[in-house]
């Protein structure tokens, strides 16, 4: 990363004035807390709108998005700086491949992280899913589990659950709010299960939920800001949530060799090998030898012997 020139976040100018104002406000808040860099990792299943969300936050088409070929082949880091503040967003490929959580993708993500930000921290994880999915299944849990296994449970301290396709009309007999709370609750429950967050840990892991609508047909308010059906402009809202999480006092996830390579099972217990060997000799081989001796002694001798 060092060699790569960080581009000025010019696209921020593209946002409506009201949004710009709020964003600058939030960045100022971060700077006040002495946070000069914000690194956001975006993860989730494929085709849920991760890349679009990244584009929306940056305000420009930094990551190619196409409606049908939803795959981002490899992780991409987008970095923008503005008046001494750097924003890094890492977009990743969908974690589900052919109906299974792909370890391979996880490996790629981790190794990319190693390249992008070795010995730096991940400040926020955006766990992206769609609002307009009606059901959570085992796959969601597997995805969460895979993320937890790779980055540790503590990454959920720094997580925001992002629900895309927020502009929807809920199925009959449900209000938008009801639908949203049901959906987010079930997803959060799934996350808690997948991340093995116990009931008593619940307070510790308050995972906020943010809504996103990346579509160009997104409704806008009088300030030309994209708004949610509730009327809230979602980009400032999202960035606000991100800022909150970034500043929630919990430590970010340090990207080090260990994280990238995962726990090296080959190294585990190596020191104890001499001890293990001694135990095997005295408590396995020796007893078996004794049994053999006993066998020989006990052997029913043929009558002629």
């Amino acid at each position: 990363m060092a060699g790569q020139l960080i581009r000025e976040w010019t696209a921020i100018q593209q946002f409506p004035a009201a949004t710009q104002e709020k964003l600058v406000d939030l960045l100022g808040k971060l700077k006040n807390e002495n946070v000069n860099t914000l690194t956001i990792l975006v993860m989730g299943k494929g085709g849920v709108g991760k890349s679009s969300t990244v584009n929306s936050i940056i305000g420009e088409r930094v990551v190619t998005v196409s409606a049908f070929q939803s795959e981002t082949p490899r992780p991409v880091m987008v970095s923008r700086s503005r008046s001494g503040f750097t924003l890094n967003i890492i977009d990743t490929p969908g974690l589900v491949e052919g109906g299974y959580v792909s370890d391979q993708v996880l490996e790629t993500i981790k190794s990319s992280l190693g390249r992008f930000l070795l010995n730096k921290t991940i400040d926020v994880l955006l766990y992206v899913d769609r609002l307009d999915a009606y059901r959570v299944d085992n796959m969601d849990k597997q995805v969460v589990k895979a993320i937890t296994d790779s980055f540790g449970k503590k990454i959920w301290h720094k997580a925001v659950v992002v629900l895309t396709h927020a502009q929807l009309s809920p199925p009959d007999a449900l209000s938008y709010e009801e639908f949203f709370s049901k959906r987010s609750e079930s997803l959060l429950k799934c996350v808690r299960q997948g991340a093995r967050i116990s009931k008593k840990d619940l307070q510790n892991f308050a995972i906020p939920v943010a809504l996103v609508e990346n579509s160009g047909r997104c409704n806008k308010n009088e300030h030309d800001e994209k708004i949610l059906p509730s009327g809230t402009p979602w980009i400032p809202n999202l960035v606000h949530t991100i800022t909150d999480v970034a500043l929630n006092g919990k430590e970010g996830i340090l990207v080090d060799q260990k994280l990238i390579e995962g726990p090296n099972a080959n190294e585990r217990g190596k020191l104890y090998i001499p001890l293990i060997l001694a135990v095997q000799y005295f408590f396995v081989i020796k007893p078996i030898q004794k049994w053999i001796k006993d066998d020989i002694a006990r052997e029913t001798k043929p009558s002629w012997d």
Binding site: G98, A265, N266, G269, I285, I292, W304, D305
Partner: protein
């Protein structure tokens, strides 16, 4: 001889051809047959003359044929044991006998047997059928030429005629009745109804009967028949002695035969008494000197019972006792044991003298294909150490020990051979067996389909085997082996789970050297330890070295970024490690069913030598119990017991674990009902199995249940091949099966998918 005064004890009176020693011959001919042979020369000689039915005590000859190996070199080695030494030599010329050539087991070294011979004394009693009848009955016979139905004295018969005997009868004078043909006396005569005999033969027969000790008085009368044949009646008075209430069995083998002193007919009464007294004293001393015999108390008590029930000791009773004693010896493998005499008759005690067949000398001989004695290559100690103790000098010969010796020697697979061959198919091989006569061997072969470009499919093997590391005289049985090897196997690590499209295979090539020492504790229990140095190369389908497994992408493409195949990450690993394996196996066949237990512990200890300095401790413990669920009687043709097999296998590794050394789950020797590796590849595994075997006719049917589990350690294999190839990491199965010869046919249900399938497999699961 017609009046036979029963003395206080019976000693052989005249020429007694007896051999209390044994010839045991083990020969190893041209590596295809081994023969062990016990020659009882006297018996061989006598019984070989003409027995209508095979005598119980005929010399036995065992031919055990091991799979014949065709040898290019015909320098055959043959080993022969000759265990004989006339122990009585020097005492008297009559006790010098020559080894009977009977049986003729590949030309034993014994001298020529002189068949028949003068049987006499009580000995005849026990081998009555040995009476020589020199020529076969001829078809032509002469009519007696006398009026019918008259009784003719034996000495009135013509010496020139051949009489045809149509009937033989024994007449018991004491009971005043004829005895049935089932009576044991009928064993005593060699005459058979329908046979044709001369007067001399009949006289000899009578003499034999008279001297056998069974009868106080015996005669032979003939009666003429109208058709020219004769009937023979043998009136007799059975010998009886006073009743006895003690029984003693002594082993008189290896004892010099006391020589009977001729009784002078002119002895005075006093001298006679003196004579009897001295004889009695001699006999007592003899009893004292005799070694105790092997006959167990239970049989002795049985005999005592017989004596008590009977009251007077009669010849028939002695015959029955003899039969009972000999039966026990036969049943227990003492094939050479013989009751030779009953002594101390007319006292309260019956003394049964047994020659148990002591081995007096052990000779090892080599024979060529034709059975001629030749010089062998194998050193004698190599053979000698395989002989059970029971077959050593001074022991009683036992046929089971002989069989054991035979098995042991056959299992040495001794044959001296130097051979080299080139086959057009592409195999060059050579072998040098039984080097220095110490059964060391050097074997090598190289196979390739194309010698001009051999790197493609070169398969080689070179092995040197060096038995008796601790010396051939040392009972410790350790064998040193050194070998170069290579192998190519399909890795079960890179196998897909259920419903996964074909996973591109990975071949694991191993080539290296191995040196180890095997210590055999028993036939089945052993301890092997040694050093292995090998190079492992992993290749894809097209034989290119591949550092990672391949995986099929959802799009259908193949990506070569699967789990790493080697520790080094290059596709080629080199490593040196120590390997130890201890096997404790006390399983045995019980009427065809395996019972017992088997424990195997195997350890690979990395030394940190090789690519990426591999340091690891890879271990496996297998415990298998074959529990007999019912007590059954052991014996041929008896049904086997139902058996419950419990099996557990733990495998684990601490330290560096390349994927080719990961433990795989699933497969016929892991969890049945799944393919090899279908359940996963892990760092630690546990497999449990239970199988119940129910005997059905002469085979068995079984039900089983098995489970394999990765203990959550699949992720501890680099690249997690279990997950990459969508495997469960654990699984159970159950099923039923039947054993058909070597093949197992089984129906196994895999519980992950709930589907079943029929499998046919060779060999045993456990």
């Amino acid at each position: 001889m017609s009046s036979f005064a029963a003395p206080a004890h019976l000693l052989p009176l005249s020429t007694r051809r007896r051999n209390s020693s044994t010839n045991a011959v083990v020969s190893h001919i041209s590596s295809s047959t081994s023969i062990i042979q016990c020659n009882l020369p006297s018996l061989a000689a006598t019984s070989s003359s003409q027995n209508p039915k095979p005598s119980k005590s005929s010399p036995f000859l065992l031919n055990s044929i091991i799979s014949p190996k065709s040898l290019a070199v015909s320098a055959a080695s043959c080993i022969l044991f000759h265990i004989a030494q006339p122990i009585l030599s020097g005492s008297d010329s009559i006790l010098n006998y020559s080894g009977g050539g009977g049986g003729g087991g590949g030309g034993s070294g014994g001298g020529g047997g002189n068949g028949g011979g003068e049987g006499g004394g009580f000995w005849r009693f026990f081998s009555p059928e040995a009476v020589a009848k020199d020529d076969d009955p001829q078809q032509e016979w002469d009519s007696h030429g006398l009026p019918a139905n008259i009784v003719v004295q034996l000495n009135k018969l013509s010496g020139f005629k051949k009489y045809k005997v149509s009937e033989i009868m024994f007449f018991d004078r004491r009971r005043g009745s004829t005895v049935g043909t089932e009576d044991s006396f009928f064993e005593m005569v060699s005459l058979r109804p329908g046979g044709i005999y001369t007067k001399a033969q009949l006289q000899k027969e009578l003499e034999t009967l008279a001297t056998c000790g069974m009868f106080e008085k015996v005669e032979l009368e003939t009666k003429t028949n109208p058709d020219g044949t004769i009937n023979i009646t043998i009136p007799f008075l059975e010998s009886t002695w006073q009743s006895a209430d003690r029984f003693r069995c002594i082993n008189v083998g290896l004892m010099p035969q006391s020589k009977p002193i001729e009784m002078d007919p002119d002895m005075t009464e006093k001298e006679r008494l003196e004579y009897y007294r001295s004889q009695e004293k001699d006999y007592r001393r003899r009893i004292e000197r005799a070694r105790p015999c092997l006959l167990p108390m239970s049989v002795q008590r049985e005999i005592l019972q017989m004596l008590r029930e009977q009251g007077k000791v009669s010849a028939r009773l002695l015959q029955r006792i003899r039969d009972r004693v000999q039966q026990w010896y036969q049943e227990n493998g003492y094939a050479c044991a013989q009751v030779v005499n009953f002594g101390n008759l007319n006292t309260k005690e019956v003394v049964c003298e047994v020659v148990e067949g002591d081995i007096t000398q052990l000779l090892i001989q080599f024979q060529d294909k034709l059975g001629n004695v030749c010089e062998g290559n194998t050193q004698f100690p190599v053979i000698r150490r395989e002989l059970p103790k029971q077959l050593r000098q001074g022991q009683v010969f036992n046929i089971e020990a002989g069989k054991q010796a035979l098995r042991n020697i056959n299992s040495l697979a001794l044959f001296s051979n130097i051979e080299a061959s080139i086959q057009p198919g592409g195999t060059v091989s050579f072998e040098h067996r039984n080097i220095k006569g110490l059964n060391r061997s050097l074997l090598g072969s190289v196979t390739t389909s194309n010698f001009l470009n051999p790197q493609d499919d070169l398969a080689f093997k070179l092995e040197y085997v060096h038995p008796y590391v601790d010396g051939v005289y040392n009972p410790r049985n350790r064998t040193f082996r050194a070998s170069c090897f290579n192998s190519r196997k399909l890795s079960p690590v890179f196998t897909g789970g259920p419903g996964i499209e074909e996973v591109p295979p990975i071949w694991v090539d191993r080539a290296g050297v191995k040196a180890n020492i095997t210590e055999n504790f028993t036939r089945q229990s052993k301890f092997t330890y040694g050093l292995v140095m090998e190079e492992i190369t992993t290749r894809d389908e097209s034989s290119h070295i591949s550092a990672n497994g391949q995986r099929v992408l959802p799009s259908g493409g193949v990506s070569a970024d699967g789990p790493p195949t080697t520790l080094s990450g290059t596709g080629v690993d080199r490593m040196a490690f120590l390997q130890a394996n201890i096997t404790r196996d006390n399983t045995k066949f019980l009427n065809g069913a395996i019972v017992g237990e088997r424990n195997v512990f195997q350890l690979d200890q990395g030394l940190g030598i090789g690519s990426k300095f591999p340091f690891f401790n890879r271990h496996q413990l297998t415990v298998t119990r074959f529990l007999q669920l019912k007590n059954v009687e052991e014996g041929a043709g008896k049904p086997p017991p139902p058996v419950l097999v419990l099996h557990g296998h733990y495998g684990g590794c601490v330290g560096d674990l390349p994927s080719y050394d990961a433990f795989t789950l699933g497969g016929p020797y892991s969890v049945r009902g799944y393919n090899m590796g279908e359940l996963g590849a892990a760092r630690n595994i546990l497999e449990l199995a239970a199988e119940l075997r129910i005997p059905v006719r002469n085979t068995h049917a079984y039900v089983f249940s098995e489970h394999g589990n990765d203990l959550g350690s699949s992720k501890d294999v680099k690249g997690n091949p279990t997950e990459v190839y969508r495997r469960m990491g654990h699984g159970s199965s159950y099923g039923v099966g039947v054993k058909l010869g070597l093949v197992r046919a089984e129906y196994a249900v895999d519980q992950n998918t709930g589907t079943g399938a029929i499998f046919f497999r060779f060999g045993e699961r456990f």
